[in-house]
Amino acid sequence: MIVAEQKSLEEIKSLVGNAEKVLVVGCGTCVTVCFAGGAREAAIVSASLRMSSKLDGNPKEVTDVTVQRQCEWEYLDEIAAQVEAVDVVLSLGCGIGVQAIAEHFPNTWVVPGLNTTFLGLPTEQGTWVERCAACGDCLLGLTGGICPIARCSKSLLNGPCGGSIDGHCEIDDEIPCGWQLIYDRLNSKGKLDMLMDIQPPKNWSTSRDGGPRKIVREDLRLNEKEESGS
């Protein structure tokens, strides 16, 4: 899932600025399950803004609504009337949600209430860790299902660096060495010989190095010309 963290109330207040009518928009997908921007968090942020602005002497009219997914137009259509009725939209979606609102409602001023942090999972309740860097060229088949890009601080491809100490990363004792994890995993599967293959430099053009990425699936596109022609 996309993991995000709420911005401080102070920062949210400064982003909202002098707007009198605010709509807090939650998202029912990734940020709901990481407890950053779901319906419950939207209600809490909305109540906090109302209370805080009232105490500051300039009470704002703050309401909240949560859509199933902020990153799809059809879910945003549902809240079009509410969005148009306010001065600013505070999106509790990930960065994609904020941008989707900006793009779908060109007349609306939208600000982010979250910091979109990483792609990861909860290892236990209340703890999330990064697992994927979305590099666009998955290597997990070479490493026993542990990503050297996301989980090695240096994204090394051919074993650990000299900073791997007792299974931990030199960046931070709390971080397990990604390559130690890969070694242990391959060892337990009797596949250590896989590490004998030298990996050439990775093609980063599939990652951010290639600029903003795009996928077009001809089999899925709705092509008006073909539809009418056939």
Binding site: S8, L9, I44, S48, M51, S52, K54, L55, D56
Partner: protein, 76 residues
């Protein structure tokens, strides 16, 4: 009492949540002392009364919730 909860961890979870709420209240601009967590067992009627008195005294010191007046005015 902590460790003696009917649902094992209900009251310890509640305490962490109360702490979080207190932090949030400070950011909002309300006194965090307006919210407090108390632990007691079913047999502690006397302690319940003590806690109720203590909380009431504390709130009297803080005075009415500043959000209340403006709310009532706007309703009228």
């Amino acid at each position: 009492m902590p460790g003696d909860c009917h649902y094992l961890e209900g009251n310890t979870n509640a305490r962490r949540r109360v702490n979080h709420l207190q932090d949030l209240l400070e950011k909002i601009g309300l006194e965090k002392e307006r919210v407090r967590m108390f632990n007691l067992s079913a047999a502690m009627a006397g302690q319940f009364v003590e806690m109720a008195n203590e909380m009431t005294e504390q709130i009297k010191v803080l005075g009415p919730n500043p959000l209340r007046n403006s709310q009532k005015e706007s309703e009228e």
